[in-house]
Every structure is written in C-alpha cells, then in structure tokens.
Symmetry: C2
Subunit: 479 residues, 2 copies
C-alpha cells in the first residue's frame, strides 16, 4: 500500500535519520502498552523539529497517507497503535526531546513534545520546582502524549489533570500549518480556545510539538496519614473536613476497601495494616507544605484527624512517623492492583462519577454487578476527591482461564458497568481516553449532541481523516 | 425582513410572555454597555426553559433567522448588540434565572444562564461559601454571558478566569440539540472538551443555558498592603517573593504607576497616599485566609514585606490597620479610570502579555507610543500576576474634542498598540473578548493557522451562520 517510492519522499524530506524502516526497529512500536492491540506500519517518521513535522504532515496530506502520532507508546486504550493493515505511518516525536527553557521565577517549563515525564521531573527538581503530575509510566510517557490524553495520576486532587498544567501549546494542524500558542498568557480571549481543543484530542486534530507547562513549588514538608472509616460516605465527609481545615495542602486522598487491603497484606511481603482496628474502609491522606512555617503538615493533619474522631467520622488513625513509614503507607495503595492480580482474573474499569455520588456508587454498583454476574466479586477504590473510581470485577473463584472468561463475559460486564456509570452522570473514561478500546462504547452511550459535535470538529480540522485514524471518533455503525 | 407571520410562529412556540415586541421594551437592549454600537431587532425572544430555547433555536434554523443571545448586555466589545439592519432576533436568557442547587459540601452551584452574578454572590455567601469572580457589572452581568466571554476580574490571580470556575455546562447547539454536560466531573476524557469550546465562544457556537460552578471557602481574615517600589521589575520580584512566602493566599496583586496615583489624589476627594515616600511605582496586595489559624494574613504579609525590604525590592510599605483602611487602599485602585477620565480623553486597551514580559512592556510600549504620537501620554497599570495590562493612551494636553481625536488618531494608535502586544507574544483581548469591536484587528493579527481553526470550528457547529452573526469571526475581507 505504502511503497518504497513514498518512503523515499519522506526520507528526502526528513533525512535518513528521520525515517526508520528496519522491521526490528519498528516492531516494538506496533503493539500497545498492555499488549492488547497490534498494528502494522512500513515506517516510523521521526522528525527533529516542528518545521519537519509540518513538512511531513503536509506531504502525508498530499499523498493521502494517515499518520499515527506516538510518544512513549504507553496508551492504555490502544490510542497510539497503527491500524493492522499497514495503511498508516507512525509519526514519532521521540527526537523532539529538548527542554527549551525552565524558569523557576515564572514557574514555567517549555518542552518539546518528546520530553519524557521523568526527565521533566528531574529538571524541575534541579531548579527547586516540581511538575505536579505523575503516573506509573513516567519513565516512558512523553509530554506530547500526556497532553494529547489529558493524563491524570495521583496528584489531580490538588493540581488538576494535564489540562490544568498546560499554559501554552505549539501544534501542527492537519493542513500542515503551525499553531503557535506557546506564550503562556493568563488571560486571553481571542475566540475559541484551540489549545483546550487539542488537549485530550488523542492526536486526531493535529500533532502537538511543544508545550509551556506550569511548575509548582517543591515540597518542603509532608505528612501521610492512614484513617479507618466505616463507610465511603464517612470518607467523603472526612475529605470535606480536611479541605476545610487544611485547604489546598491536601495533596492526595485515596479510599481503599478493607478487602483490597486484605489482598495486599496476604500477597505483598512486608506489608502491615497501619492502624490497629480493621475497619470496612480506609483512607490514605497526604498533606504537603511548600514552606517550613509552623504549624507543619503533621501537626495540622493531626489536628484535623482529632476533629474527625470527635465527629465520629474516623474510627482509628495513624500518621507516618517518618519517610519510611510514609512510603510503607503508600506502598499498600500502590500494590492494590498487583495483589488483586494474584487473586485471579479481573476486569478493570477507568471510570469517574460526580464526587458527591461516589460513595453510593462504590457500594451500589459493586452489589449490582455481583447480582448480575453470579460468582463474580466487585470492588472499588480510588481517588475519592476526583470522583475517579477504580472499579474491578473479579472472575468467579476458581476461574482458571482468564482470557476465556473475558472473551465470554467481558463484553456484557463492560456494558453493565458503563451503563451504571452513565446512569449517575459519570464518564466511561476518567483518564485513559477513548483510543480504539472504548470507541464503540462511546458511540453507544454518548448523546447525539456530543457525537455530532465530536464528528463535526473532527471533519472541520481533518477533512481527509488522516490524523490518528479510527481512534476516539466512533465509526458510523457504532452510534 | 422579519414579518409578523414569523413573530407569530415564535409566539405560538414560546407563549406571549416569551416574545417581546413593544419597541420601548426592546430599545434598551439594542445598544451596547458603552453606547458605541447600535442595532435593531423586531423582537426579543425570552424562553423560560432549556427545552424552549432548543425549540426557538430549531425554528430559527428552519426559517434561517439569526439569533443574538443576550445576558445582562454588559459586553465591552459590542458582543451582544444585534446587527443594525434588523435581520436578527435577540434571544434573552433573563427569564432563566433560577439557582437549581447550591451545595456547600460539594462547593458547587448549578445555575441557569440568566442568573445575575451578584445574585449568585449573595446565595453563595448565605451558604458560607464564595463565588470568586467579580467585576464592575456584577449587578447586571449574567452567568451565561460571563461564561460566553470567559470573564476575568480582580480575583483571577488566585482563582482563574471563568474557565477555571466552570465545572459543567448545558447548552443548546445550533442544530437545536441539547448538550448535557452539567455533571461536574473532575476527570473526564471522552474526547474533545465541548465545554471548553463553548466557554469564551461569545454565543457563536450555541447558547449556554445552565452551568455548574465551583465555589470556594468564604474569607475569614484578610490583609491589604500598599508597597512603594522603584520599577515594575521590582514589583514582579516582589510578587514572586510573596508567592513563595504566602502561597495560594495571595488574592490580588495590582501594579500602579505613580502618575496614576497622582491623578487619583488630585481628583478623588478624601484619598491619600498610603505610604510616606512617593515611589515611581506602587503595588496593592491582598492576602486572604479561609480559616482563622495562626499566623494570620496580616502577620504573614508583614513578614513577607519585611523580607522584601531586606532584599531592597520595596522602598516603603504599609498594611491596612482595619477594614476601613483596606477599603481606602482599594478605592485608589478602583478610582484610577475615573480620575484619568478627569484628565481628558484617552484610549483604553484590554490587553495581556506573558507575565515575565510585563515589566518591560509597561515601560517600553508606553515610551514607544509617546514617541509615535507626539503630545500623547501613555501609561499602564493592572493585574501584574495575570499579565493583564490596562494600557491607556491619553490625548495631547488641551485636546477638547475627544471624539474627534479618536476619530482622527484612534485607528492608528489602536494598530500601534496591538502590534506592540503581538510583538511580545501577547493577546489583543485579555478579558473582554472580540465581539464586533476587535473583529477586524483579530483578522489582521491572528496567524493563518488560528484564523483557519476559528472559521473551521464555526462552520462545523453553525453551517448556516445564525448564531450571533458577525461577532468574533473576522469577515473574509478582514484577514
């Protein structure tokens, strides 16, 4: 489909280093992060400047060749995997990995799209600042991909998703023109916010080539607490109390079911329950201060938790006495998925609901799923303050062939959970995006007004449909 | 053009109270806030529900009749004034003025578009919360209009513009479909963010009918300081120091040139300079705390200002001893425009530049304007932390006929200032939007990529071009 003659034209444009055609070098980029989607492509384009990205997009437009932009290839929804028929070229941003500027005074970093998240973390730290977004794939995920998927992570409660951290964007639009929006303007009302449209667009409206990102002060002091509570509703009341007492310094607020904690204690060596009483639900809270003023975070957290005990919201509580203990508290939270895998096959959902409805949803949706699919066990944990539920449905005890269980029951469990989410006004994609994996479900569940708007914008920006084809926008037959 | 037969069809749809045709009742809504734009229209539609807005938009679409959405009619750029040929109907949201819900626990208010800002302020205050966006027109401006123009105001430094406060939106799209996005989701990655596209779209992509808005804790204690500084660069260094020492509690940071202060002291009775030394520049800073914890804002501000004196950033400083003194400090800032008007005719610009470039811009652009237009005096003041400069060019001394001066020199001064803004990567509209007034200048100055994107989005949403015609999008001959 894409012959050597075409490849040669891109080589002439981008130079020999700008085009990878060796199959072994291409192979790692044809499969998604979780190994569920497989594609094919005769070449990876890897331009090293915005101008070359623009030239490649222009040529692809002239030739009618689809492009699949790729950063660290860490999509959880097959968002960066090319189509299996080899009809598209991969456009990798990995050579555009310079940090152009990092100003601690202005709390700004200007990065090319291919800068890896961990690299930015390190650079910010060296400058006495912090880039407050982090996630498991930080050693591979790139700034361009994180913006294109409006990534979340563990610090969203205080600092927001990627959308809240992007001050400016440079992008190549599908017609090959360069959108210059890197200047970080706090106030700018010159019509529709193109930047906001490109954030979370999964590369379907153009290719982000650089961004201005907001930095925040480094953490000077932190306190991590573990609180046993009776119900998710009590946990939400505790969050509201913490927000009222501790304001913006609440950096994380995670809710964990006691059965999840049990799995961790059973499967992860060296873990122990941080409090003496085993309560039905647990909360992990972190309070961070940028300065060393008194009272410090531990003292303030202690004060807030004492009040929560007085109000009967907390049954038991512990504050980490040192960094090692704080890490031990966090290790429990971070081991939840791993320990659950040890329990057997499970379907995991990345969903969100309005925060006020999360306590009810956590209990009701789990019970409903267990009733609808006898033998399964459902549970939820997650970022309570963000309304972001990690909802898991585990296969019936004794299920040995996980893939077969998923092939048999997966689709109906999927539909059941998504229906429950939509019923409470939630989102079927909290932070991973739509990609290929949720495209059909978006088509099934989105309102006609939303679908029409998505398609109209896509057609307006990319009339040829060449930008990351078959991602995000439901196919005509899908809704 | 729009005959009685057509009016009758809207009456049949919306009921007699839903259509105003009495010319005296229409007249006040045909001229903009500043009295610079005049339009005509045979009727105002005023539906009282989202469904009726949808029905009116659908009918207008069938009949090919343009609609001009209107809230409080406080646009500063002619954004809500109908075309002068009477070819459009006004669609007023004023009857949709219910606050559906206000939850202090969730820090959320759900309002119809016609709710007046001051009404929301009062309702939030009664619930022990605050809606942290305010501006001069708060007694008339409505939530729908504030969202459609992404309004700013004096509290943007800490709380952001309207965009940062909108958690969800309901809107009627140009095809008459209802976009349901009121659920406040902290994390939602279901494709392009339609909400963000409607914010600041000035009614050209549809009609916002309701919104979920973020509330913040009420202020428990505040401190207001006045600081004399040598240069805008020192003022910016002082802001950075204050941010580092006082974090998110810095609610306002305004910079004022000494000549502006001089005008206030000359023209506004009962004002006096808050500090003993007259310095070339002045800073007004407000620090707010939501709780009553120690140390309070006055003590913390004092501490930060003492450090600024040590570092030689501040020449003199005073902290208001009580609320009356705090109000007196603010009165100087709020009287700047009024006292300047007493000096003679002036052109006022609503522009923004990257914060780091604001100190240089304030001095260089003023000097350049004075050189280019001999006899004029130029000065700037404004929200330093937002990069939002109020840039004023005053007519040469002795100019008696202000309108004639503006007619003669206005356009070239306009172009000169806007060119200077674009040269430093700024915006020709910081917070007022484009409307009719800046449409041609946007066409002249925006990049081809931006213009193409604006027009493509407009055409995709509103192919008939019926939504707020001739606003925001430059005419073909304009760029």
């Amino acid at each position: 489909m894409i012959g050597q003659e075409i490849i040669d034209r891109f080589v002439a444009l981008l130079g020999p280093k700008g085009v990878v055609t060796e199959p072994d070098d291409i192979a790692p980029w044809l499969t998604d992060w979780r190994g569920r989607f497989h594609g094919a492509s005769p070449a990876i384009l890897q331009p090293d400047s915005t101008e070359k990205v623009a030239a490649a997009v222009t040529l692809a437009g002239q030739l009618g060749i689809p492009l699949v932009p790729q950063g660290g290839n860490t999509s959880m929804v097959g968002g960066a995997t090319p189509p299996p028929d080899g009809s598209a070229l991969i456009l990798s941003l990995r050579r555009m990995n310079r940090i152009h500027a990092l100003s601690p005074d202005d709390n700004l970093a200007i990065c090319e799209a291919g800068v890896i998240l961990a690299t930015l973390h390190d650079a910010a730290e060296k400058a006495g600042r912090r880039f407050p977004l982090s996630l498991g794939a930080k050693g591979s995920a790139t700034i361009g991909g994180l913006i294109s998927t409006n990534a979340g992570g563990t610090q969203v409660l205080r600092h927001g998703t990627m959308r809240a951290l992007v001050e400016g964007i440079e992008a190549v639009l599908p017609d090959g023109s360069i959108f210059q929006g890197l200047d970080a303007l706090k106030k700018d009302n010159r019509g529709y916010d193109i930047k906001q449209l490109l954030i979370g667009a999964e590369g379907t409206l153009g290719i982000i080539t650089a961004a201005s990102l907001r930095l925040v002060p480094a953490i000077s002091a932190r306190a991590v607490g573990w609180v046993g509570v009776r119900t998710p509703a009590d946990a939400l009341a505790l969050l509201r109390l913490a927000e009222a007492r501790l304001g913006d310094s609440v950096e994380a607020f995670e809710i964990i079911a006691d059965d999840g904690l049990g799995h961790v204690l059973s499967h992860i060596p060296g873990t122990r329950c941080p409090i003496e009483t085993r309560t039905p639900w647990h909360v992990l809270i972190e309070v961070d201060h940028a300065d060393l003023s008194d009272p410090g975070p531990a003292e303030r957290l202690e004060d807030a938790l004492a009040q929560a005990m007085d109000k009967n919201l907390a049954v038991d509580a512990a504050i980490a006495a040192n960094d090692a203990q704080a890490s031990a508290f966090w290790r429990i939270r971070e081991s939840l998925s791993e320990s659950e895998r040890a329990q057997g096959p499970a379907l995991q959902f990345d969903i969100s609901v309005p925060v006020a409805r999360m306590p009810t949803f956590m209990i009701d949706a789990a019970a409903a799923a267990e009733r609808a699919f006898p033998g399964t066990t459902a549970s939820s944990f997650g970022h309570l303050g963000d309304g972001n539920v990690h909802f898991h449905v585990r296969a019936p005890k004794g299920t040995l062939d996980g893939p077969n269980w998923i092939a048999t029951d997966g689709q109906s469990i999927n539909a059941f959970v998504h229906d429950a989410v939509v019923a409470v006004g939630g989102s079927i994609s909290a932070e991973h995006g739509i990609g290929q994996m949720k495209r059909a479900e978006l088509g099934r569940l989105a309102s006609p007004a939303r679908l029409h708007a998505l398609r109209a914008i896509k057609a307006a920006f990319d009339p040829q449909g060449l930008m990351n084809p078959d991602k995000l926008i439901p196919r005509p037959e899908e809704g």
